[in-house]
Amino acid sequence: MSSLNSTIFKLAGLALLACVPLTGESFYVELAAKTLVLAIFAMSLDLLVGFTGLVSFGHAAYFGVAAYSVALLSPKYEAASLWYVLPASVGLSALAALVVGLFVLRTKGIYFIMVTLAFAQLAFFVFHDTPLGGGSDGIYLNVKPTAAIAGWVPFDLDNATHLYYFILGALVVVYAFLARILQSPFGRVLVGIKSNEHRMQSMGYLTFRYKLAAFALAGGLGGVAGFLYAVVFGFVTPELLSWHQSGNVLLMVILGGMGNLVGAIAGAFVFTGMQEVFGNWTKHWQLVMGCVIVAAVLFMPGGLSAVPGRIKRALQGGGSNE
C-alpha cells in the first residue's frame, strides 16, 4: 500500500510542478525552473553521498565545468545545437570527475571531504585565473542552444515555458535513470560500499572502480544540472564552482535525508524556499539560515524525510531523545 501511495504522491507532485507555468508569473516560473535544476544537482550528489557513502564537498566543480562548457562551446552570436552542446558539456564534466576521482578516491573520510573541496577550488581557479575562463566576471551565453534537428524545431529553449518543461523532463529522466541504476547489480554494489566497503572488498569487489564509476556518473549528472543552469540564466561565473555552491547542494541533500532521491528534490525546494522567505524577511537572513542549519543538525538527524516519523513517535509519547 505504501508503494502505491508513493507512486500516487510522486505523480501528484509531478502534476503540481507541471502546473507552475500556468500561473503565468514569469519570475516564479524561472524560480521553479532554477529549483528543478538544483534538484537534479542534488540528486546527482545524492548518488555519491546518500548511496555510495562518499561525502563530496566539491560537487559544484562538475556543475560549473558543464556550465562553462556550454558558454565556451557556443559561438558568440549564434545558437549552438542542443544535441551537440548538451552531450559535450555533460561528457566533459563526467570526464573531469573521472580524472579528479582517480586522485580523491585514494583517500577516505575527512581526507576525502577536504580533498574533493580542494580539487573543486582547483577547478574554480582554472576558470577564474587562466585565459580560458574570462576571469572573475564570468562569461555570457548570448544565445541559448537550439533544439533544431535538420530544420525541424521540436521546442524552443528561448521560450520560458518550453524551457521549464524541458527542465522538468530532464528531472524526470534523471530521477528514473538513477532509480533504475540503484536497482541494478551496479547500484547494489554502491549501496554495499556505503554500508561496509571493507566487506565488499573481501567478497571480491574492486571497490575503487565502482566508486570511480559512481563519481564520474555523479559528475556527469551534476553536469546536466550545470548545463541547464547556464541555459536558464545565460551567464556563467566562477562562483558556480565555489565551495559555497558545493556546501549548498550538500545541504539540500541532507535536508532531504540522504539516500533518498525524492528527498533530494524536496531538499532543493526547501532550500530555495528558505532562501526566498528569509531573504525577503530580513537583511540578516544568513543568520537565520545558519541557525536553522545548526538546529537541524542538532535536533533533526536523518533529514526532512525522517521528520514525519519522528513527529509520529513523539505524538505517541515514544519520541527518541537523540
Binding site: E30, S136, D137, G267, Q286
Partner: protein, 391 residues
C-alpha cells in the same frame, strides 16, 4: 519509508509555494517602484548602504516625491555574487516589476544586471560598477551609469604620471575586469605621452599576499608604480608598500578606490598618497557642502563617493521623470530627459555621454589628515571613449 518520503516531498512543494505567496507583488499603482539591487552583506555591504542612503537623501530632499509621484523602494541583497545575479535581478524586474533598477557595486553582477535590463527593457542606473563594457560594447538605450568607467580615473592618472616626468612604470592589480581595465586606461594615457610600462603584474582576486610583488618591484626599480586595488585589499597593499620602505623611493599611484573608505584602516601608511577620481574631499562647491551636511545629519556618518553616486542616480532619474511629466510608462521620454540632463552633482556638474556614462572632471587627490584632498584637476570633462558602443 516510502510514506515518509512523500510527506517530505509535499512539504518541499508547500514551502516553495508558501515562498511564492509571501513574497508576491503587492503593488500600489500610484507609486513609482525603484528596486535597489546592492550588496547589503559581505565585503561591499558598506558601499551598498552608502548608495542607498545617497539615493534616498535626494528623494527626501524633494519631499519624498519625484515629479509629484511617491517612491516605493524594493531591495534585494545581491551578496556581490555573480552566480545569483540574474536571479536577483529578475526578482526586481519580473516579480516586483520595478520601474527603475539601481545597482550595483560588483562589476560581474552589474554585467548580469545589464543583460536582464536589456532583455526586459527595464531602466537601469548603475551607481558604481565601472566595467567599461556596460557603457561600451554592451551599451543600451535603457542602461545608464551615474558613476564612472574603470578607464576614466586611470586615464587621468596616466596623464599625471607623464606630467610628473616618470618614464618607467610598473603596474600591479588583481586580475579581474576592474583592475585590468584600469591598467589599460593608465597605459593608454601614459604611453601616449611617451612613458613606458615596463611590467604588468597581476594576482588573483581577492588574494592579499603582496610581499612577493613588492620584492619584484624593488628589484625592477621603476620610477613609479600604478596599482588598482580597492577596499580592504587596498588598505593592506598600502600598508605593505610602506612597510617595505618602497614609498620612500618609488611613488605609488592609483585609481581613487585605493584610498576610498579605507583610510582609517591604512593609518599613517596612506599619508601623501596621490590618486585620481571623480570625487574628492574639500571640493570648493556649494552643492557638495550642502550634501555632506545633510548626509552627516541624516545618517550620522560622513558621505563618500558611493553616497554621491547613489545621490546622483536619484538626480538622474528625477531629471528623466520630469521630462516625462512623472509618467513612467513613457520610457522613451524618461530616457531622453536623462540623456539631456545636466546633473548638479556634489562632485561638480556633469552631463552624460552618448553611451550614458558621466562626462566629468577627474580630480587629483592627496591623502592629508585622513582625507582625500583635491590638489588639482588633471582632466576636465573627461569622456569615456565608449569603444564598441553603437548608440
Amino acid at each position: 519509508m516510502g510514506h515518509n518520503l512523500n510527506k517530505a516531498f509535499k512539504f518541499g512543494i508547500g514551502m516553495a509555494l508558501a515562498a511564492g505567496l509571501t513574497s508576491g507583488a503587492q503593488a500600489a499603482d500610484d507609486k513609482i517602484k525603484v528596486g535597489f539591487m546592492l550588496p547589503y552583506t559581505g565585503t561591499y555591504a558598506s558601499l551598498g548602504n552608502a548608495i542607498t542612503n545617497g539615493f534616498k537623501q535626494y528623494v527626501a530632499e524633494q519631499g519624498g516625491k519625484l515629479s509629484g509621484r511617491e517612491i516605493e523602494y524594493f531591495t534585494v541583497d545581491d551578496e556581490s555574487d555573480p552566480a545569483k545575479a540574474t536571479e536577483n535581478a529578475n526578482k526586481l524586474v519580473k516579480r516586483d516589476k520595478v520601474d527603475l533598477l539601481v545597482g550595483t557595486v560588483h562589476s560581474g553582477v552589474a554585467l548580469a544586471m545589464a543583460k536582464v535590463a536589456r532583455e526586459n527593457k527595464t531602466l537601469l542606473i548603475v551607481p558604481n560598477a565601472g566595467a567599461d563594457e556596460i557603457t561600451g560594447p554592451l551599451c543600451a538605450p535603457n542602461v545608464f551609469r551615474s558613476s564612472f568607467t574603470n578607464w576614466q580615473p586611470a586615464y587621468a592618472m596616466g596623464k599625471v604620471a607623464a606630467q610628473k616626468g616618470y618614464k618607467k612604470v610598473v603596474t600591479l592589480t588583481w586580475k579581474y575586469a576592474a583592475g585590468l581595465q584600469s591598467i589599460d586606461g593608465f597605459k593608454e594615457a601614459f604611453e601616449q605621452a611617451g612613458g613606458k610600462v615596463v611590467k604588468d603584474m597581476t594576482l588573483p582576486f581577492p588574494n592579499v599576499e603582496f610581499q612577493p610583488f613588492l620584492t619584484e618591484i624593488a628589484s625592477l626599480k621603476p620610477d613609479a608604480v600604478f596599482v588598482f586595488f580597492a577596499g580592504a585589499g587596498a588598505a593592506k597593499f598600502v600598508k605593505d608598500y610602506a612597510a617595505a620602505g618602497l614609498n620612500k623611493t618609488v611613488p605609488l599611484l592609483g585609481s581613487g578606490f585605493l584610498t576610498d573608505g579605507n583610510l582609517d584602516a591604512m593609518g599613517d601608511s596612506g599619508k601623501a598618497l596621490q590618486t585620481t577620481l571623480h570625487y574628492a574631499d574639500g571640493l570648493d562647491n556649494k552643492k557638495d557642502q550642502a550634501f555632506r551636511l545633510t548626509y552627516a545629519k541624516t545618517y550620522k556618518m560622513q558621505p563618500d563617493v558611493y553616497a554621491v553616486q547613489g545621490y546622483d542616480a536619484a538626480q538622474l532619474y528625477g531629471a528623466g521623470l520630469k521630462a516625462a511629466g512623472g509618467d513612467v510608462s513613457k520610457q522613451a521620454d524618461v530616457i531622453k530627459g536623462m540623456e539631456a540632463a545636466k546633473i548638479d552633482s556634489p562632485r561638480g556638474a556633469f552631463t552624460l555621454s552618448k553611451a550614458h556614462n558621466p562626462v566629468q572632471d577627474i580630480y587629483l587627490r592627496e591623502v592629508q589628515g585622513g582625507q582625500n584632498k583635491v590638489i588639482g584637476i588633471p582632466t576636465k570633462a573627461l569622456a569615456d571613449p565608449a569603444r564598441g558602443c553603437k548608440l
